[in-house]
Amino acid sequence: MVKEKGPNLKVNLGTIELDNPVITCSGTFSSGLEYGKFYDISKLGAVTTKSFSLKPKKGNEPPRTCEVACGLLNSIGLQNDGINSFKKDHLPYIKKLNIRVILSIFGQDIAEFRKIAKEIVDIRQDIIALELNLSCPNVEKGGMAFCTSTDDIKNITHEVKQITKIPVIVKLSPNVGDLSMPAISAREGGADAISLINTVIGAAFDIDSFKPKLGNIQGGLSGPAVKPIAIANVYNLYKENILPIIGMGGIYSWEDAVEFMIAGAKAIGLGSVNFVNYMAGIEILENIKKYLTSKNITDINSIIGRASDKIKR
């Protein structure tokens, strides 16, 4: 049998090797089970899980979502059943479905990250990378504080990597202004890659009841509304050449995905699009292939960061 030879889709994020650059974003894909009913999710570059904490977390007061123009506000509050539930309830089907999984974790402080890391040591071989959620705007104490303290970013990254010996991705929030310092701290801590952006802080109010539309008042904005913000951040960090970037925020189509890669993303994350188009992952992957073929591009790596060509010269 002659194997059809398409363009090369393999990309490397530091030591993390992906068969293709299409990843799903944390919190928008659970650990894949539901989407496995729609298509073969083992074809994706990787699946990022919902963020897990050490102990189960109840989440925020409803209402937890609110649709806005071209996007979605959410204040889920990182509801999850704790890291042991990941091991017990999710990992078995992840293995069965042959999913390449990135485990997202978050803690209130360094001590909690350390404890989670210790819980992960024995499943190290089942996970291709850890993503540290240091940036979720929903939790008052956790994420936001870390993202403003570059020392914390460095120390957490370092400790988690030391304990688990798994490649580490640090997820950054756009809510702190310039992302260069946090990205540099991640590199100093030994991170393999950074992912950006997490959701953008937002709020909405009801003009009849005068009440906030989210139980938590503020939430995180995702969807097409945030895409230009994400693209600008990816572009700026790419030029600084700090760490390989997983770009996310408002990707809805294969065209959006390609745009992120041109801005400098080595891999791309699909978030809220999964809520609307359950087949988004596979459709975007197939269409990126078609795009490359139609342009006679043999290696996807050759388009990464092309928007900065002029600046390099």
Binding site: T28, F29, S30, P62, P63, R64, I76, P224
Partner: protein, 262 residues
């Protein structure tokens, strides 16, 4: 559960702001069970405005024609888009979603619907009476814009009673007036209800005094509809407090006495 396109057979206005859309779907006819719902994309193909899908019940199934219908009220962007679709247009939906109700062994059933909350109950009434159960369908409306549905009710092999606040149809009042006497006329009935929050709260208070099993079909804003985002959380009483459950994948029906309304 499948993600499918379907052709609209009919999409007619049957009252102020109220529409019935029928579409061709052998798959739903075969697989949809009362209590479940579908998630419809309410924007043209390739566009995402409004951004999210919208959840809807199935009002009726015509097995002979492979046609299902959705009864809907125009509320905002999404339902306005639906109301503009015509025969021959396509919709994209995902379903069936959520858990079916198990009513196979019910012998006497009271269905209580408020407003558009009657949508999931009509199909139940039909199935229940079909299996020989004694059905009493209690419906409450603000206005008489649902009036044309009476011909659907007449076709049911079930007793029904209409309360309408504007006095133009059935009895003047609201469904909970049925229990005003303080006497339970439905002692040995299983109860299913769906409707506005205020109605459900009142029913919870009323039935707290009786022994009926009462199942409520809940509504909550949904993002994914398939149990992924944790957006549709409701509080369900548990020993020592409550737990968040997902309306889309743990429900949409719950035991009414266990729901902790905000």
């Amino acid at each position: 559960m499948k993600l499918l396109d379907a052709e609209i057979v009919n999409n007619i206005r049957i009252g102020e702001g109220l529409y019935k859309m029928e579409f061709f779907s052998p798959y739903l006819c075969k697989n949809f069970k009362p209590g479940q719902f579908i998630n419809i994309k309410c924007s043209p193909e390739g566009l995402f405005d409004p951004f999210l899908r919208r959840p809807f019940s199935i009002y009726d199934i015509e097995n002979n024609f492979n046609v299902v219908s959705v009864l809907y009220l125009v509320r905002g962007k999404g339902t306005k888009y639906l109301s503009g679709l015509e025969k021959g247009d396509n919709i994209n939906f995902c379903g069936p979603l959520g858990n079916p109700l198990s009513f196979e062994n019910d012998k006497k059933v009271l269905l209580i619907g408020g407003g558009i909350g009657i949508a999931p109950l009509y199909l139940m009434a039909k199935k229940l009476s079909g299996q020989g159960a004694l059905v009493y369908f209690l419906c409450g409306f603000k206005e008489s814009n649902f009036r044309l549905l009476e011909k659907d009710f007449l076709r049911l092999n079930a007793d029904y009673k209409i309360y309408c606040e504007d006095g133009m149809w059935g009895e003047v009042g609201i469904v909970t007036d049925e229990f005003a006497s303080g006497k339970n006329k439905f002692e040995d009935y299983k109860v299913y209800c769906c409707g506005p929050l205020e109605m459900l709260k009142k029913l919870q208070a009323i039935f707290s005094k009786y022994n009926n099993t009462v199942i409520a079909i809940l509504e909550e804003k949904m993002a994914c509809g398939i149990g992924v985002c944790m957006g549709c959380a409701v509080k369900i009483k548990q020993k020592g407090g409550f737990a968040y459950k997902k309306v889309c994948s743990d429900g949409p029906s719950f035991n009414l006495e266990e729901v902790l309304f905000g």
